[in-house]
């Protein structure tokens, strides 16, 4: 939990940002540059000088940082991962309790602006060795090839600078390595060389109900692909991981190691190959030489400032902290796109009450999928979405009832007594980049004295049409399944696109290999580089990009 006592007090009249950079100072002061020579500030003497220079520093240990770290370590490079959060022992530290598990979320405050402010914290951002994979639901469908070229097909958004075939081998590798449980053959998308290594996880009550409703309406469904083990699985560098016990608590931390979070898969593999993973290290500065090359980073650890030098830097801190670090350090900004193109999946949920007992806390939450709406025939929007059944935990659900339905008093308590009879369906749909959806630095400071991020987000016509289409369909599915008291909770999920990848440094921050256009040894690898949001959950694609970025980097080092 961040300590924000002194800094938040009376921030009603925000102070002006303290601008450190002499160039920016002079620009703002409108003084001629000649009068303020640009001299890099001398390093504070109290920061100990590092004994050595490592080949690579990786900032962040989530779905972007961890696979990359393992790949680099396996190639024999000297690599250090800096993770802001602690290293947990899930068996001993994790409670099956939503409140007690809040330490898994990135809880430094972000300011949510726009007409549809995005919820952060438990909704999308993690901390700790393993990053957000510590609390992802393990839902790991592949994107479909068409997701990568929305502009070619619809004339909106931007296309990825490469096609599906670039990622396909990595999807296959990941599915086998992580032990993804899913149906073979998979009913949608191009045919695959290899099936999933494990059979799908069992369907819970919500999944059975969605299956029933979809069957009545003639909508094809399938057990979903999830990165949680339906059977014991041997993990290289780890040993045997045990099968999922249907505890249903993926979104607040897996205690058994059945869920393929990074701390039980890629990170032990990386460590086995010599990677140095340092928890509790919060990076504040990225240092450069006169030529603009990154020379190392400064980070805070146990209240001490530390400096580490590197030959290459990989920024994998997620689509908020990555652009925030770049903006704070005035680094890689020449495209003007850092912080822009913020996207968040359309993710409206529809709940209904059933006469049957559902007990929605049991089993893998997203057990059933339908991709029949990936390119719906009657769509009046670009792109598409997938449908998933959802399990839900009581505290999260109650909070949504309060926010979404506005219930309180006896009405809220009566409704919540039906918790065991409630089931939900969720969509996960594409989102276009819009000029007014972006991240900026706010005047308000966090507990460390750095500007908080402010994120503007408003759904536009395409997102609104898609959401309306989905809500109508999900209401029909629930009616067909026998639900009463059907209601919708509009929301956005995942954070995407704030340092996008492209062919030109004019409209993108990194090139097709994930390398910054304007910094010779800086790479970015997380959901911020996605040129478009894709109509699927991002974790598998982030990991695929991580392996690809590592391979491209290693090729270029030869």
């Amino acid at each position: 939990m961040p300590e924000e006592e002194t800094l938040e007090e009376g921030v009603l009249n925000p102070v002006k940002p303290e601008i450190q950079d002499p160039l920016l100072q002079s620009l703002l002061a409108d003084t001629p540059l000649a009068e303020t020579p640009i001299v890099p500030a001398p390093a504070p003497l109290e920061i100990p000088l590092p004994a050595e220079t490592v080949d690579c520093i990786v900032i962040g240990t989530g779905a972007g940082g961890a696979p990359l770290l393992a790949r680099l370590a396996m190639a024999g490079l000297k690599v250090v991962a800096l993770e802001a959060g602690p290293w947990h022992d899930p068996k001993k530290d994790f409670a099956t309790d939503e409140k007690a598990q809040e330490f898994l979320f990135w809880n430094d405050e972000r300011l949510s602006a726009g007409k549809d402010p995005v919820a952060f914290g438990k909704n999308n951002s993690g901390t700790g060795v393993g990053g957000s994979t510590l609390h992802y639901t393990a839902y790991t469908p592949r994107p479909q090839p068409a997701d990568l070229h929305l502009h070619r097909d619809f004339g909106v958004g931007v296309d990825w600078p490469f096609g599906y075939e670039e990622l396909e081998p990595y999807f296959e590798e990941l599915e086998q390595f992580l032990g993804i449980s899913g149906p073979t053959p998979y009913p949608w998308g191009p045919s695959r060389r290899k099936g999933y290594p494990l059979a799908p996880l069992p369907l819970n009550g919500a999944a059975q109900l969605m299956q029933r409703g979809c069957e009545t309406l003639g909508i094809r469904t399938s057990p979903a692909a999830n990165a949680a083990l339906s059977a014991r699985y041997y993990q290289e560098g780890v040993g045997w991981r045990e099968a999922c016990t249907n505890r249903g608590f993926c979104q607040a931390g897996c205690t058994t190691g059945a869920k393929a979070s990074m701390d039980v898969t890629f990170l032990p593999l990386a460590a086995a190959h010599g990677a140095d993973i340092r928890p509790g290290c919060y990076v504040t500065e990225i240092e450069r030489d006169e030529a603009g090359k990154v020379t190392g980073v400064v980070y805070q650890q146990n209240g001490q400032e530390q400096r580490l030098r590197c030959r290459h830097l990989f920024l994998c801190a997620g689509a908020i902290e990555t652009p925030r670090l770049l903006l704070l350090n005035e680094l890689a900004l020449s495209s003007g796109h850092v912080g822009r193109n913020f996207m968040s999946h359309t993710a409206i949920q529809v709940f209904g009450t059933f006469s049957e007992a559902v007990r929605p806390f049991k089993g893998i939450p997203g057990a059933l999928i339908s991709e029949e709406t990936h390119r719906a025939k009657d769509a009046d929007f670009a792109g598409g979405y997938l449908l998933q059944s959802i399990g839900i935990m009581p505290v999260t659900f109650a909070g949504q009832v309060a926010r979404g339905r506005g219930f309180w008093g006896p009405q809220l308590r009566s409704y919540m007594q039906q918790y065991n009879h409630v089931a939900g369906i969720n969509i996960l749909g594409d989102c276009l980049p819009h000029a007014d959806n972006f991240l900026e630095l706010a005047e308000e400071k966090d507990a460390r004295g750095f500007a908080k991020p402010r994120v503007h987000f408003t759904n536009h016509d395409n997102e609104i049409r898609m959401t309306n289409h989905a809500e109508k369909l999900m209401r029909r599915i629930w009616e067909a399944a026998g639900a009463t008291d059907i209601w919708a909770f509009p929301r956005s999920a995942h954070i995407i696109g704030t340092a996008r990848m492209g062919l030109s440094g004019d409209d993108a921050v990194v090139d097709t290999n994930g390398k910054a256009f304007d910094v010779p040894n800086l790479y970015i690898c997380d959901n911020s580089v996605f040129p478009s949001a894709l109509g699927v959950n991002p974790a598998l694609t982030i990991m695929a990009l991580a392996l690809r970025t590592a391979d491209k980097f290693l090729e270029n080092q030869k």
């Binding site: 921030v11 972000r110 007992a357 806390f361 309060a402």
Partner: protein, 199 residues
């Protein structure tokens, strides 16, 4: 009206078994056995006002001792804790809560000629409904978004309420019995350690 379809005493009975893992038991017992709390962030009068608002949002006539919702909020504001985000239209949480609770007190005075604390239950509900609907009178609501403040207050108290083991018992949630995992997960399937629902 609020009587639960699930039997009382099941959570305490479960906590005494080895079907609850030690970290889970520790988290739940800390709430179940919470000692009396003295406010440290709010002054005594504002804290009492918060308790009265909480009592309208979560009336608990069915409980001999209501689940206290104000301590968790007072603690959080004291330590500066955050859930990772806040509406940009609201000021920092400490300001928002001081202002918002002041606004509720003020609206009571304008609408019924007495501070919120002196109103009847029904009048208090009318005031809170007006805050939720953004129709409550008073100058504070010209600078503080009444709807967003109410949403934040309600969501936080709601999450505190349903994190309490006895509230989880009330809705028949048995997920705290996290050992050894679940095998009966389909529709109408139930394991022996899950409570029976009254028809």
């Amino acid at each position: 009206m609020i009587s639960s379809p699930y039997p009382a005493g099941t959570v305490r009975a479960l906590l005494a078994t080895d079907q609850v893992s030690p970290p889970t038991r520790a988290a739940l017992e800390a709430r179940l056995l919470a000692p009396a709390y003295e406010p440290q962030f709010f002054d005594a009068a504002t804290y009492e006002l918060l308790r009265m608002v909480a009592a309208r949002l979560f009336p608990q006539p069915d409980r001999p001792e209501p689940i206290e919702l104000a301590p968790a909020l007072d603690q959080r504001l004291l330590t500066g804790g955050s859930d990772g985000w806040r509406y940009d239209v609201l000021p920092p949480d400490r300001e928002a809560y001081r202002l918002g609770l002041g606004g509720i007190r003020e609206s009571g005075r304008v609408m019924f000629g007495a501070p919120f604390e002196h109103l009847t239950d029904l009048q208090q509900d009318v005031v809170l409904q007006a805050v939720q609907n953004e129709t409550a009178p008073g100058p504070i609501w010209e600078t503080l978004s009444a709807g967003r403040f109410f949403e934040e207050l309600l969501a936080e108290l709601t999450e505190t309420y349903y994190a309490h083991p006895l509230a989880q018992e009330e809705i028949g949630y048995a997920g705290l019995a996290d050992l050894p995992g679940w095998t009966h997960i389909g529709l109408n399937e139930k394991e022996a350690r899950e409570p029976e629902e009254a028809k």
